[in-house]
Structures are given as structure tokens and as C-alpha cells.
């Protein structure tokens, strides 16, 4: 025979049921807010490193230093369709460094050696200055400091490099610490394509 529940038990069940309903209600209210997935992204039109007409400004490098991750989620990206494939790429070489015996600047600009340079297309070994060179950024090394972005700005370069947030590396902080530090307010939450 089933024991008759005490008043205490009945009240307990009622309270639990009510709380469960309340939590369900909150959940349902929240589900209506899930219309899109948002992620932090940087607007190249606002960023001082990539914005045109802002030459002679110090590279800010905050994208590489302010992220909460040890290796920032920001990467430099080379838009190949805009890249001039220069013999002496101002973003690859430190063009102020001494010239070596090959007639090329002896130092690279990238502090982490994240850019790879290789000749492409029709190659004339006796005329290296006339060949085209492809510059690929290694995303496992790049930390988004933006020096290459700055150096590739017109008129020295064709502004083919920009900075972007990598969503798979981004922790999606409620308040992005780079966004707080960014002097140009170039960071914003934008809709992200789900996987």
C-alpha cells in the first residue's frame, strides 16, 4: 500500500515543480533570442594598421598583446587577388635593413618569421627581379601584430594584407579585451556563419 504523502512532501514537490517550470520558462524565453551566432571581428576600414590615408602612424600591435590567449586569435591575411607579388615585398623584408650580396634587404620584417616567400609562374633564374613572388602567411606562427599590414599600405604596397579574428581560436569573451584596448573601436560583434 502506498504511503500517504506528508504535507511537507507535497509542498516540496510543488515548489520543485514551480521552479522547474520557471527555469523552463527562462530557457524558452532565451531560445527565442538565439536568432544568430555572433563573434568578434575587426573592421579593416577602421583599423589604423590597414586604414588608407593613415601612413606615418606607429603600428599599434594591440591585437597581438591584448588578447587573453597567449597566442592572440588575430591573424594577418594576405588577399592574394590584390597582392602585387613584389620582388622586394615591404611586408616581407625590413626594407630599412642593410642590403646583402643578393641585393635584397638582409632582415625580415615579421618578428615571428611567419611569412613564406616563393617565386611563382614563369621563372627566369637570371632575372630574379622580374619574377613574381607569392607571400603566404603561416597562421600557426602569426600573432596579428600588424607590422606587415602597416608596411603593405599604399603607396609602398597595394594594401593586400589585413587583420582578421580567427573564430576557432577566439574564446568569444563577453567583453573582448582587444576591443576595449582598440584605439579605433575597430572591433565589433558580427554574425558568424555556423560550422
Amino acid at each position: 500500500m502506498k504511503k500517504k504523502p506528508t504535507r511537507r512532501e507535497v509542498l516540496g514537490h510543488a515548489a520543485r515543480g514551480a521552479t522547474l517550470l520557471g527555469l523552463g520558462g527562462v530557457g524558452a524565453a532565451l531560445v527565442t533570442k538565439t536568432h544568430k551566432v555572433m563573434g568578434w571581428q575587426l573592421d579593416p576600414a577602421k583599423c589604423v594598421n590597414s586604414r588608407l590615408g593613415a601612413t606615418g602612424v606607429e603600428v599599434c600591435e594591440l591585437c597581438s598583446t591584448e588578447c587573453v590567449e597567449p597566442l592572440s586569435a588575430v591573424r594577418a591575411v594576405n588577399e592574394f587577388s590584390k597582392c602585387g607579388r613584389c620582388y622586394i615585398c615591404p611586408a616581407y623584408f625590413n626594407i630599412k635593413s642593410a642590403i646583402n650580396e643578393e641585393g635584397l634587404p638582409s632582415e625580415k620584417l615579421c618578428p615571428r618569421d611567419a611569412i613564406e616567400r616563393k617565386p611563382i609562374g614563369w621563372i627566369d633564374p637570371y632575372d630574379p627581379a622580374n619574377n613574381f613572388y607569392e607571400y603566404t602567411i603561416d597562421e600557426t606562427k602569426c600573432n596579428g601584430c600588424g607590422r606587415c599590414v602597416m608596411a603593405c599600405k599604399e603607396p609602398a604596397g597595394l594594401s593586400s594584407i589585413r587583420l582578421e579574428v580567427r573564430y576557432d581560436a577566439c574564446l568569444d569573451c563577453n567583453r573582448c579585451s582587444i576591443a576595449i584596448a582598440c584605439p579605433d573601436d575597430a572591433y565589433d560583434l558580427v554574425p558568424v556563419e555556423p560550422a
Partner: protein, 325 residues
């Protein structure tokens, strides 16, 4: 050869010629761009194909689903260990596993404590988009608390876990001081809500910003937060879980819900000895009058471990062995 290519050649040749001169005179290169526009696939030649731009990879939803599944599993496992097995050792193993995964591997994000703010923002701001994962992460520990008490605190929460593991020499906090400090978490919750309901420009997520242990999980962060985290851990050697008991805003919600939980930690295994060893063993002051207080019990299972009757009933120890010790 097409016209642009030859013009490029001439320009480049001039640059090439001037290079040794520049090197000789100034050891600095006057760089002049040989190309005024990006070369096309045809001008590059040899069947060159422009490679695809490295577009941002989509967010991997996979990890987030894994987080939710593991959180649910850990809550279920924690409830079973505490309420059925009553095993302190089991809880320690679960704590270490969850600290390793949710803390050090997933770097303390996403967590239910911070999700309070997202929930509040989503409820007041019509433009705010709420990820499904965060809803699940927010609700799961509350539902678990409604049935089994604060099992999330006991073995799953990485912030609690790191404090649980450093608690080596617990001292009792005077009850009155304990109560007074306990009021801080309500203030913290109120502040978190206040900053979350601000319009988007002034909004702040203080729970995340002043999360004391996330810096340790990531091994990076502002120096002052790392120092506060280290100080709380040092304090945690002697005072059981200072963050959980006096600051955690999610703990407020969990204590409300667990007050009416369906079941929870009950110390008595069979016949009670009235020895008070359990109350002495509880570093969180959650045993009053020999009974676990559900709203403040953190499901750590220390009381079971200290109970002589419990060893007889649950660990198969012989009665003689107990009376000898």
C-alpha cells in the same frame, strides 16, 4: 609577352640597377614599387592559379556541444558519487578531471557563473544574440541542484575544484563572520546584474573581468587578477573555498534552488553516533546541529569520509576495526 609585363620589367630593372648604388652610399634601400597593380593570372604565367584567401574558419560548434554533453555527464556522475556511492575519493577524481577539462583545457570558458550576465543581457536587450550552448550551460547546474543539491559546486566547477584541491589545513571561520562575508555574494550578483542591464556601450561583464582563477587556467592575464587569484588560492589553504562561499554569484542561485532540492547530502548512514566528527570535518560550515544544510552544502563528501558508521555501512569496514581506531 604582353605590354604590362614588359613595362614592369623595365621598372623592376631600374630598381634592380639602383640597388647596389643605394647599398654603397647609404646602406639603405630606397624602395620603389615595381608593380602598380596586382598581376593577373595570365601575366604571372605557367598556369598559375590564385590561391584561395585564408578566410576565417567557422566557429567549431563541436567543442561547445562536447562541453554541454560533458557538463551533463559530470553532473550526473557527481550526483551518483555523492548520493549513492558516498565516496570522497570518487569526488576528488571527478574534481581533478573537471578541473583539467573545463579549467585548464577549455580555459575556464564558457562557465555557468559568467553565463548569468549573458542571460540577463539576453532578457533585456532585444538585439543581443544568445548562443544555445550558453543557455544549456546556465540551466543544467540549476536543474541538477533542484534534484540533487549543489553537485555542480562539489565536483564539476573548475573554480571550485582548484580551491577544493588546495584546501589542506582548513580552519573554522567564526559563524558570525561567515554570515557577514556570505552577504558579499549577493552584492556581487546585484552588481553583475546592474552592469549587464546597462545599454550596450556601457555594458560590462564584471564576473568575467574579475574572475580570479581564469588567469591561472590560461596562464595569462592582467597581473593584478593573477595576483588576486594567487592570493585567494593561498587563503584557500586554510579557509575552505573563499570564492565559492563569499563571492560566487552563481552560488547564490544554486543555494536558492538547492534549498528545495528533491534529495541531497544526508549524513546519517544507519544509526547515528552523535559524535560530531562530520561537523568538524566540514570546512564550509555547512553542518548545523548534525544536519547538512542544503543551501550551503557543496557536496564535497568530506563528512562521509570522516564518519565511522559510514565506513562500516558503505566501505565494508569491520566493526572491530572501527572500535580499535
Amino acid at each position: 609577352m604582353s605590354f604590362p609585363r614588359s613595362r614592369i620589367s623595365v621598372l623592376a630593372f631600374i630598381v634592380f640597377l639602383t640597388m647596389p648604388l643605394a647599398a654603397a652610399f647609404a646602406q639603405q634601400l630606397e624602395y620603389e614599387r615595381p608593380v602598380q597593380a596586382a598581376p593577373t593570372e595570365e601575366s604571372i604565367g605557367e598556369g598559375y592559379v590564385t590561391p584561395k584567401v585564408q578566410y576565417p574558419k567557422p566557429r567549431s560548434l563541436w567543442w561547445e556541444i562536447t562541453d554541454v554533453v560533458l557538463l551533463a555527464a559530470a553532473l550526473g556522475l557527481g550526483a551518483w558519487i555523492v548520493l549513492v556511492r558516498r565516496s570522497r575519493r570518487g569526488i576528488v577524481v571527478l574534481t581533478i578531471a573537471c578541473l583539467a577539462y573545463f579549467g585548464f583545457f577549455r580555459e575556464g570558458c564558457v562557465c555557468p557563473i559568467g553565463s548569468i550576465q549573458n542571460v540577463i543581457v539576453a532578457l533585456v536587450d532585444p538585439n543581443y544574440a544568445m548562443p544555445y550552448v550558453v543557455i544549456a550551460i546556465f540551466l543544467l547546474p540549476l536543474v541538477a541542484a533542484l534534484f540533487f543539491g549543489r553537485v555542480f559546486c562539489g565536483g564539476v566547477c573548475p573554480l571550485g575544484g582548484i580551491q577544493e584541491l588546495v584546501l589542506l589545513k582548513p580552519i573554522e571561520v567564526p559563524r558570525r563572520l561567515d554570515r557577514a562575508l556570505g552577504a558579499l555574494k549577493y552584492v556581487y550578483l546585484a552588481l553583475a546584474i546592474w552592469f549587464a542591464v546597462q545599454p550596450a556601450v556601457d555594458r560590462d561583464f564584471i564576473i568575467c573581468r574579475f574572475d580570479p582563477f581564469v588567469g591561472l587556467f590560461r596562464w595569462a592575464g592582467p597581473a593584478h587578477m593573477l595576483m588576486i587569484g594567487a592570493a585567494l588560492l593561498l587563503l584557500g589553504f586554510f579557509i575552505g573555498r573563499p570564492y565559492c562561499r563569499y563571492l560566487c554569484p552563481y552560488g547564490v542561485l544554486l543555494s536558492w534552488v538547492s534549498r528545495i532540492s528533491w534529495t541531497g547530502v544526508t549524513i546519517t548512514p544507519d544509526n547515528e553516533l552523535d559524535c560530531g566528527l562530520c561537523a568538524e570535518a566540514c570546512p564550509y560550515g555547512a553542518i548545523e546541529k548534525m544536519r547538512a544544510v542544503r543551501s550551503s552544502c557543496l557536496s564535497c563528501a568530506r563528512c562521509y569520509h570522516s564518519c565511522p558508521r559510514h565506513r562500516v555501512v558503505f566501505e565494508g569496514m569491520q566493526e572491530e576495526a572501527v572500535s580499535e581506531s
